[in-house]
Symmetry: C2
Subunit: 394 residues, 2 copies
């Protein structure tokens, strides 16, 4: 079989001579974005409390939605009937969906990476019933119904949702799995990848591009095998998934040792990773796109990303902001960052006013988009080290 993705493209227009960092033009039917870039999580077909117009105002290029949540509510058939996800959620730019697998498995395993990858939803370890060669059987958190998610059904659901970029169905292993389990799981994910490609090709009309996912846990040899597998198949892009270790250094080592075996001409997405320091670490290793829930999740906890703050963030609930007349960051170019004082946002959070969460989510999205613009500029200028110190002073 041959998949050519005629409506998609990835052109690397600049490579950093001193690292693997690169600038790319990622073309989709809903527009071309420049990479490195950040894909914001619109889990249930909505960026939490940020409207599409506000996402554009914050200069967002691309967002994602989660297959797992949408298949359960409102269901892929309904989204398809309403004209697909772009129309349903009124997002006219590039859009990605994951396979549904991550949530199925993260709710079944429990792992240190769950915390940043979507756990803490109150029903951990309760919903995954069985993993077989066929797929994963789990229970809907909406109505308790048993659902078998397979490579084929994940492709069907993602086809109905209609995003530009799709993910293969894979098993997402955790830090708690031993090497033997991780290896067998990875091999199954490779077979699932082939089934995804077959199912994808059967319905391919040029509207969607499929990513293969590199698994293999923290084991370099497995990561290599998995990376070589994805490079050998007709995926449009490559994603790094699963557990990459318990520490930043472990994660860095695993990515560094995986990237050489990833197809060099395809866009590389890092699933579920997206703190400011991660961006600087991993663009240097050749990652093109990131996604993470933290810009909007932190907002719901009163936390704002800030350029030039050693810990990346400040918590606006803190009493020290009670009388702070300064805005979060006028340079972000949106009212949420430039017009309102920290004292006002502190007040809104204390008074449990939803506007506080809206302003912080908007600010965090704008901050991360600005980070990515500045990172792209710095890669072109060869000044990534300088920029990193500006964003993350010691």
């Amino acid at each position: 079989m041959t998949l050519t993705y005629p409506n998609f493209g990835f052109d690397i227009t600049h490579s950093d001579p001193s690292s693997k960092a690169r600038i790319g033009q990622l073309k989709t039917p809903h527009g071309t974005i420049e990479t490195p870039n950040y894909i914001f999580c619109g889990t249930k077909a909505s960026i939490k409390n940020v409207a599409p117009a506000q996402m554009h105002e914050a200069r967002t290029d691309i967002i994602l939605a989660n297959t797992y949540h949408l298949m359960l509510q409102p269901g892929a058939d309904l989204v398809e009937k309403m004209g697909g996800l772009h129309k349903f959620m009124q997002w006219d730019g590039p859009l990605l969906t994951d396979s549904g697998g991550f949530q199925v498995f993260s709710m079944g395993h429990g792992s240190p990476t769950d915390e940043i990858k979507g756990r803490a939803q109150g029903h951990v370890n309760k919903t995954l019933l069985k993993i077989t060669e066929e797929g994963a059987l789990f229970r809907s958190y909406i109505d308790g119904q048993k659902i078998l998610l397979t490579p084929e059904s994940s492709m069907e659901i993602q086809r109905k949702l209609g995003a530009d970029l799709l993910m293969q169905f894979d098993e997402c292993t955790s830090y708690n799995h031993d090497k033997e389990y991780t290896a067998k799981s990875m091999e199954m994910s490779m077979r699932w990848g082939d089934r995804c490609l077959s199912e994808f090709e059967r319905h391919d009309n040029g509207a969607q591009g499929l990513y293969g996912i590199v698994q293999g846990g923290v084991h370099e040899d497995l990561r290599r095998t998995s990376a070589e597998y994805t490079a050998d198949r007709d995926f449009f892009g490559t994603a790094l998934g699963g557990c990459l270790g318990g520490t930043d250094e472990e994660m860095r080592v695993i990515v560094e040792s995986s990237v050489p075996y990833i197809h060099p001409d395809r866009p590389v997405h890092f699933l579920g990773i997206g703190r400011i320091k991660d961006i600087f670490t991993f663009v240097r290793l050749g990652i093109d796109t990131f996604d993470c829930v933290i810009p909007t999740r932190l907002a719901r906890h009163g936390v704002a990303f800030l350029k030039g703050h050693p810990g990346e963030t400040i918590n606006l609930k803190n009493a020290r902001f009670k009388e702070d007349p300064e805005p979060l960051d006028p340079e972000n170019g949106i009212a949420a960052s430039a017009d309102f004082s920290k004292a006002y946002i502190h007040h809104l959070l204390k008074a449990r006013e939803l506007l506080g969460l809206q302003l912080l989510a908007h600010h965090n999205v704008a901050t991360i988009n600005r980070l990515m613009r500045e990172v792209r500029g710095a890669i072109k200028d060869g000044t990534l080290d300088v920029l990193e110190k500006e964003w993350l002073p010691e």
Copy 2:
């Protein structure tokens, strides 16, 4: 004493020959608005989940904030230190504050009108400790502290908050009070009105305009006395407050019998009233401005105002909207009303996504602003009856 309000004005530019409806130009230091108009409630210095830019996009002319809530959190001194309410909440248009009295008393009495006037907050009848000639002693719902609110302190707090339009401190009686109590209360409110005027004048710098409030419950003779009192004093505007009856008809009769005694050249505000049918009823009786929490409160319950819907509203949580591909109302001119399907908003509400509440609040504000624009046009054209049938078909 003489208060001239040099930076304020109210010009009646058109009077309906077949009713008391009128078009006015209400001038404040933060802009001139055309009346009849609707004043949206930004209770704690925030329209619930609607940012100032979104309020402007929905063509909002004027908003209010509640002295009671703000004096408790974050406190008038802090707001003053931050440059006043306009700057604090980033609202650059006309702004009104109430006296704080309504919430103090509505939490102390309990009445049939509480439901539409701000009750159901879980601490009814618990916080009002004592009413004396001096003022009202109540307990803060934030920290339990005892606070004495007087005409003088209400004026001081409202001066610090810095809105354009202020309300005198009055006792707000309920349907449960007999005529004797209501009469004595009204007389005290008149004495409080004089104290407010004195205190206001002591600090008057031309930045604020003070409204007197007509009390007197459902008793026409008391309403007349109170209306004549306000007309006889140097208030900039007149507000109708307190209980106006248990039925729409009772309310209409009381307003109709009060208005002839209100100063004819001053703007008349109707406190806490603002369903669509109320607008049509009371602009015909000479009311110039309305305020009510329902546009944003209903949004938080999944309810949208709709032009041309017999019951004024629809509840988007209703299963009949699950597959409804139509937007709420493209004529409103904002994305929340024109771009998103009812099916999508239904999904957001079911999935407890905050964006659903944001879109509905934005839609409701835009709908009410459109209503007021169309009402003003119809008064000028003499077609108010036709317009009412368009908005509220039988």
